[in-house]
């Protein structure tokens, strides 16, 4: 029994580790693909060189991030079988086709047109090249749609029955894809991807503005990014609120854990701002709370009753401490993004957007925050779904493969070592690419300007700041 439990914990750790590394890459490439399409389109429409230069700059970074996203994604598609085979057997007939559509509609589209986008400009011409860039962007969004549909079905399952072998069988595909939480989760995730990318692009632009290198390009990307943050951050908070209300309706235990409401509150529940939840003793130590505010947010009335974890059997409670903190981290970072957006809007109003050095410094500091918020959000929703994989229908403990603990321990160790080594190097290369903006020439508006032809993807290799190392 103990050995079985160990294998389960190891399998969960491995999934959490590999998916956490994976999710930050699509979160970045979904936004960046759309940004590249916008840059490419602006270049074709305005013929301004700055858009071409920015396109080539971010294209190189996209290629590195996308490559890492692809290989870490292949791992995910096999891990359902290697580590979660009983889940795959039971839920495969429902969730498998949904993910199958992701591969058919999205992965091939991205992969097929990525080569043309990266290497094909001279071979296909600008119009088709823009089309290819658009297809890559559409592919990333389709991919997000299908995988969020699959995840949402696991969170709020419907439209299925159970056969004699104990498998879930599809009854209504429309209901399976459009589950109650799907639209909220999809909007929340796509906005998160756009915010994450905007913060990275903004940080890069701000850093170069502070350094005074390539002011035209850095100002252009900074203004575009901060405009995005100013618009999307408030929308994201609104979307998050709606998503939370949806969760209250369909997965109340998750909300109870997020709020650390161990007890029911018949006369209005407090919002615990901070505190140390103690799940064993069912209390929150050192709590700082605002009476009634939780009921106001969730039920739109100070005195509305709100049930607590005392209404849930202990063995079906999600881990409160993790969910409580990850939720607060996400919300806190979201508020910081809102402030950055407001600050940018005010600075823009006063004509100081690219010259307010404290704003620029803040934007640099906020660069990685989108990734942290995405991770915190996913930890909240995935850990909050526990102890189930398919909410209310299949326990995590009944989902795991009958694989021996030493095998899982070996693979987990290997994944940890390889991921830190490979993706650590990748992050280092991306940061180095961001650091180097080639010096600017005079702004010219060209009808058929020279196409920069440095290498597979132009950019610096170590020690050769003059450009790519091959392919001229």
């Amino acid at each position: 029994m103990l050995e079985h439990l160990d294998a389960l914990l190891l399998a969960r750790l491995q999934f959490a580790f590999t998916i956490a590394f994976h999710i930050v890459l699509p979160a970045f490439t979904i936004g960046l693909a759309s940004y590249l399409f916008v840059l490419n389109a602006l270049w074709l429409i305005t013929k301004r060189q700055v858009y071409e230069e920015l396109f080539n700059f971010w294209k190189t970074i996209f290629a590195v991030a996308f490559g890492m996203g692809v290989v870490s994604g292949i791992v995910m598609s096999y891990q359902f079988g290697t580590n979660w085979s009983r889940f795959a057997d039971k839920a495969g007939p429902v969730i498998g086709p949904v993910m199958g559509y992701e591969v058919l509609t999205a992965f091939f589209l991205e992969a097929g047109f990525l080569g043309v986008m990266l290497f094909g400009l001279k071979r296909v011409g600008r119009g088709l090249h823009l089309f290819a860039t658009g297809m890559v962007a559409v592919g990333t969004l389709l991919s997000a749609t299908w995988i969020i549909a699959a995840n949402s079905w696991m969170q709020t399952p419907q439209g299925f029955g159970t056969n004699a072998a104990g498998q879930f069988v599809p009854l209504d595909w429309w209901a399976i894809i459009f589950t109650p939480s799907f639209p909220y989760r999809l909007v929340h995730m796509v906005l998160a991807a756009y915010l994450t990318t905007a913060l990275v692009v903004g940080a890069c632009g701000a850093w170069h503005l502070l350094k005074g290198s390539a002011p035209r390009r850095s100002a252009t990307m900074f203004c575009m990014a901060m405009g995005m943050v100013a618009v999307v951050a408030p929308l994201q908070i609104l979307a998050g609120d709606q998503h939370g209300l949806n969760t209250l309706k369909h997965q109340p235990a998750k909300i109870m854990a997020m709020e650390a409401h161990f007890d029911s509150h018949p006369n209005g529940a407090p919002l615990i701002l901070f505190g140390l939840p103690d799940q064993k003793n069912k209390r929150v130590d050192y709590a700082i709370s605002i009476p009634g505010l939780s009921s106001l947010i969730l039920k739109h009335g100070w005195n509305e009753p709100l049930a607590g974890l005392d209404t849930i059997p202990d063995e079906l409670e999600p881990p409160v401490v993790v969910v409580f903190w990850s939720f607060r981290v996400m919300v806190g970072l979201g508020m910081a993004m809102l402030l950055l957006g407001l600050w940018s809007a005010v600075a823009w109003w006063r004509g100081r957007l690219t010259s307010d050095r404290w704003l620029l410094r803040a934007a640099v500091g906020m660069g990685p925050v989108g990734f942290l918020a995405v991770l915190a959000g996913w930890i909240t929703t995935e850990v909050g779904r526990q102890p189930y994989t398919v909410y209310g229908h299949l326990l995590t403990a009944d989902s795991v493969s009958p694989v021996a603990a030493p095998a899982v321990a070996t693979s987990l160790t290997a994944f940890v070592m390889v991921y830190f080594f490979v993706f650590g190097a990748g992050i280092f290369y991306i940061l180095r690419l961001m650091k180097y903006l080639p010096p600017e020439s005079e702004e010219t508006v060209l009808d058929s300007g020279p196409v920069r032809t440095a290498g597979i993807t132009p950019g610096p290799a170590q020690g050769t700041p003059q450009g790519g190392t091959h392919g001229h």
Partner: protein, 334 residues
């Protein structure tokens, strides 16, 4: 009607796996041959022959895995735990070779790290795919809808032999691909490599074909029964004919013939494996019908597959067409 859909899907999954082997085989093959090309310029050119298409090639592997989970979830949930170690090693190998496509242009100091990562990653991935095939042919123990064996069961002399054979076979595909896509000394070198690779692949196929019937009487029975017996007689002749085409193509300095004939070898070998397996999907435990998901699952994804796979093939062909022709040293794609 029920049986039919499962068989349509078995055929489609087999097609997807074949598409993967055909497209990623040469792609892994150039990784396997990478250490033989020592000059940096040669390595750049070799890499550039697949850089625009490798990602699409590997997507067939994702479709194979994802598709299996969707339409044969029981097979997926039995086979993957059984092959836990080789599949994990394959995934790690694919990580190293995949990132190398971008990383090796981003550094000078670590260039050799990613070149080795590309090469060893490709070898490991190919070897593990061969191991997986061998272990699958030898059979997987199933009890109560789950894998019932240990975590080293996959390691046998036969699976190691199939692993080595597949590495050699992919190397042949890689070498003939380079004959097709490169010029001058590089192409000459590829031609030089392709010759022994052809003979070794022939040897591998021979060993594989003679060994498989010894594993289980059901395989022997299949091959001696009508109509498979026609195939048993014809295939060795066709294989020899294709080998002759490769060698004469190499001798006459033809570009495309050796590569196409090498692909032909893989198609024949694959068809043979398919005949051995039928009607099982996980021999000798699960038949295609046993493992199939519900009709609703099969039908829902089949609609999409029948519409989308031709479209995917069309734009994949377009991508190959855009990057057609020889890749000359130092030329890149611009």
């Amino acid at each position: 009607m029920g049986i039919d859909l499962a068989f349509v899907w078995a055929f489609l999954i087999a097609f997807v796996v074949l598409a993967y082997v055909v497209m990623d085989g040469f792609d892994l093959g150039i990784g396997i041959l990478f250490p033989l090309f020592r000059a940096k310029g040669d390595r750049d050119t070799v890499m550039n022959t697949v850089a625009p298409v490798w990602d699409g090639n590997e997507t067939w592997l994702v479709l194979g895995g994802g598709g299996l989970m969707a339409v044969f979830p029981l097979a997926y949930s039995v086979v993957l735990p059984a092959l836990y170690m080789p599949l994990t090693a394959m995934l790690l190998g694919l990580i190293f070779r995949g990132v190398a496509f971008e990383f090796r242009w981003r550094t000078k100091r670590w260039l050799s790290v990613w070149d080795w990562g590309f090469s060893i990653g490709s070898m490991v991935a190919a070897f593990c795919q061969g191991i997986a095939l061998g272990a699958l042919i030898e059979g997987i123990r199933v009890a109560d809808r789950a894998y019932a064996g240990g975590w080293w069961d996959w390691l046998t002399p036969f699976s190691v032999a199939t692993g080595i054979s597949l590495v050699i076979g992919y190397a042949l595909l890689g070498a003939t691909w380079l004959v097709l896509k490169t010029t001058g000394d590089l192409a000459a070198k590829a031609r030089h490599i392709a010759r022994p690779a052809t003979y070794l692949t022939l040897l591998g196929m021979g060993v594989f074909s003679l060994w498989t019937p010894l594993i289980g009487p059901h395989y022997l029975g299949r091959w001696l029964s009508f109509p498979a017996v026609i195939f048993s007689v014809l295939v060795p002749l066709l294989v020899l004919a294709l080998v002759a085409v490769i060698i004469s193509g190499l001798n006459r300095q033809k570009d495309a013939e050796p590569f196409l004939a090498a692909l032909g070898l893989f198609v024949l070998g694959f068809a043979g494996i398919g005949i051995s397996f039928y009607p099982y999907i996980v021999p000798p435990s699960l038949t295609i019908a046993d493992a199939a998901a519900s009709q609703a699952s099969l039908a829902f994804l089949l609609v999409g597959a029948l519409v989308l796979i031709p479209i995917i093939l069309a734009y994949t062909a377009y991508a190959y067409w855009v990057f057609r022709g020889k890749v000359r040293p130092g030329e890149g794609y611009h």
